[in-house]
Amino acid sequence: MGNVSFHVNTGEIVGLIGPNGAGKTTAFNVACGFVKPTSGTVEFPAAGLRSLRPHQLHKAGVARTLQGVGLFDHMSVLENVMAGAQSRRGAGILASLTGMPSVSRFDRRVRTEAFEILERLGIAQFAGQVPSAIPYGIAKKVSVARALMASPRLLLLDEPASGLDENELEEFSNLIVSLKSTMGVLLVEHNMEFVMPLVDRLVVLNFGEVIATGTPKDISQNADVLAAYLGVDDD
């Protein structure tokens, strides 16, 4: 990848699109610290931080979902959502060893909060089930619920529409729009019908470079983008 530069503001939804092999997931992984860039930096100006490793993202208020659902198979839906609060300061190791009341208090607080998020997303009835027992669309929402537990300022969604049917796509789209008021959203997605009406701005990658940025309307008329997607010649 080279010459890749883009930003996401709070209150906007940005789509990162491009043909297969364009470098979308690599760009995502660089942003999250899974891949170290050979040059350049990833900055989180709101938190005054840069080039964080994946486990440090929470310090910058960044949460990310994974391709597929990426849930913890042997934990209930509620525990999966609670897992989003692992970065919070809880009881220390000594308190954990001795089972001090602070451990239970922390657990109760996080449990209640996780349940509230499940209720907000309308999936609280699945709280006690394990991921393998719930529909795929619900599992996708659970992964978003887990990300929301971190109270993010920036939410990164990796192919949120994959595997969803039409109704689920509409629900998911509404959910993402509802999050916009409190955070920025950056999503990588192949499904253009899902992305175009949803995002405020698009960043288009091809062969590891940004070939266009702009509103969905601008991008849909951009010759380079059309060429990249459809193989249409500029002439």
């Binding site: 994946p54 849930l71 042997h74 209930s76 089972g99 709280a127 089930q129």
Partner: protein, 406 residues
């Protein structure tokens, strides 16, 4: 946003139209357990420990040391179940941690002026745990970069190297090993029991067993607390999906190393407790490399990742002697023959194969499956008896929230 209702702890929270007294009691008990989880753990584990100690008063003096050794092994299995069952890291070398703990405690007791004082044994345990933790850290740091067979290979190498290394240490007795003074009961304890009207004579062998059971019970309480803490959840997250765990803010190398440190501490404690019963340790016996395989077998047989599994593992280990004797006599193998001497390995291998075939989740998992089947059968028979032609609509209870996790 609507006011949230109380979040469920499991998926079995079901509103029943008709509730029997027994069900009311069960529901009330569950409420208490949810409200006071730490207190519930303390009370239940203390009670079980007390019952285990009480049982030693009714077990023969010859069997009592085996019970003590079983309790010590249960502590070591607890460490292994934390490492393998909860953090998902395979180890075949936890016998090495037991050896480290056993030698540390033995050296302290042997080289300390007040060696026969009970405090020496206590300090010996603390040192064993500390040295075990440091050993776990040393092994855990490179383990953060290894997975699967490579990690297993490293732990095997550790278990093989430790005895050879200790053999070179003259202050540790070389190949001859070390002897530890037997723990003797304090006079007040002997007087208390021997002065009773029923004339109970407490045997010296029972005292160390009771002490080891008490410490094992405390270890189970500590591990139960860890299982239910934020740290316990972090371990399970790393085991299930390390990428998602890292994104949730977990430092993977630190967490994996910490899993080794905790596992090694419990392994070392188990080794030290074992020696307080066996009183002898050499680089060859009892914590040779194959003992690590035995620990793994016991964990699988009991049930990976459960406290009950570790407790059952201890019981299986404690009673292997009588079972081997029974098996040998029934198949006509003398214990003096080569084959007879290999009976423990044959027995554990056989149990492991049978467990894998019949109950892959171990005895605990098998019991849980059995209970689930019985519950389903009872529920289906109850619903059949409740459903009558007059009330055909009474069976609409199968909403998603009541489904048990599969």
């Amino acid at each position: 946003m609507s006011t949230p209702t109380s979040p469920p702890h499991d998926a079995t929270h079901v509103e029943q139209p008709k509730v029997s007294s027994l069900k009311k009691f069960a529901a009330g008990s569950r409420g208490v357990i949810r409200a006071y989880p730490s207190a519930t753990r303390i009370v239940s584990i203390t009670l079980l420990t007390f019952l285990a100690i009480l049982a030693t008063f009714y077990i023969s003096d010859t069997q009592n040391p085996a019970i003590g050794e079983g309790a010590a092994v249960a502590v070591a299995v607890l460490g292994l179940t934390w490492l393998t069952g909860w953090s998902g890291q395979v180890s075949l070398g936890n016998s090495g941690f037991m050896m480290v703990g056993a030698y540390t405690a033995s050296l302290w007791i042997n080289h300390h002026p007040s060696a026969t004082q009970p405090s020496s044994y206590g300090i010996g345990l603390v040192l064993a745990v500390a040295v075990g933790a440091v050993t776990g850290l040393i092994l855990g740091l490179p383990a953060t970069r290894l997975r699967g067979p490579y990690l297993a290979g490293m732990t095997i190498a550790f278990a093989v190297v430790i005895p050879s290394f200790i053999q070179t240490l003259s202050f540790a007795g070389g190949s001859g090993g070390l002897q530890v003074f037997a723990l003797t009961p304090p006079q007040w304890f002997v007087n208390f029991f021997n002065d009773q009207e029923y004339g109970y004579q407490i045997a010296n062998a029972q005292w160390p067993t009771d002490i080891v059971i008490a410490i094992a019970g405390f270890s189970f309480l500590i591990m139960a607390n860890l299982f239910h803490s934020k740290l316990g959840r972090s371990m399970r997250m790393v085991r299930d999906n390390d990428v998602a765990a890292e994104l949730a803010g977990i430092n993977l190398p630190r967490m994996r190393a910490l899993a080794f440190v905790i596992s090694a501490s419990f392994g070392a404690l188990g080794g030290a407790l074992f020696i307080y019963i066996a009183n002898t340790i050499t680089p060859e016996e009892p914590f040779q490399f194959t003992f690590g395989i035995t620990l793994l077998t016991l964990m699988v047989v009991g049930g990976i990742g459960t406290l009950w599994g570790a407790a059952i593992a201890g019981v299986v280990f404690a009673y292997q002697g009588p079972w081997i004797a029974w098996l040998s006599s029934h198949v006509g193998i003398s214990s003096t023959t080569n084959l007879g001497q290999q009976m423990p390995n044959i027995l554990f291998s056989g149990i492991l194969i049978l467990t894998m075939l019949l109950a892959p989740r171990g005895i605990v998992g098998g019991i849980q499956d059995l209970v689930r089947i019985v519950k389903k059968l009872l529920a289906s028979s109850a619903s059949r008896s409740e459903t009558s032609p007059e009330s055909p609509s009474d069976n609409a209870s199968g909403d998603a929230a009541t489904h048990s996790p599969s």
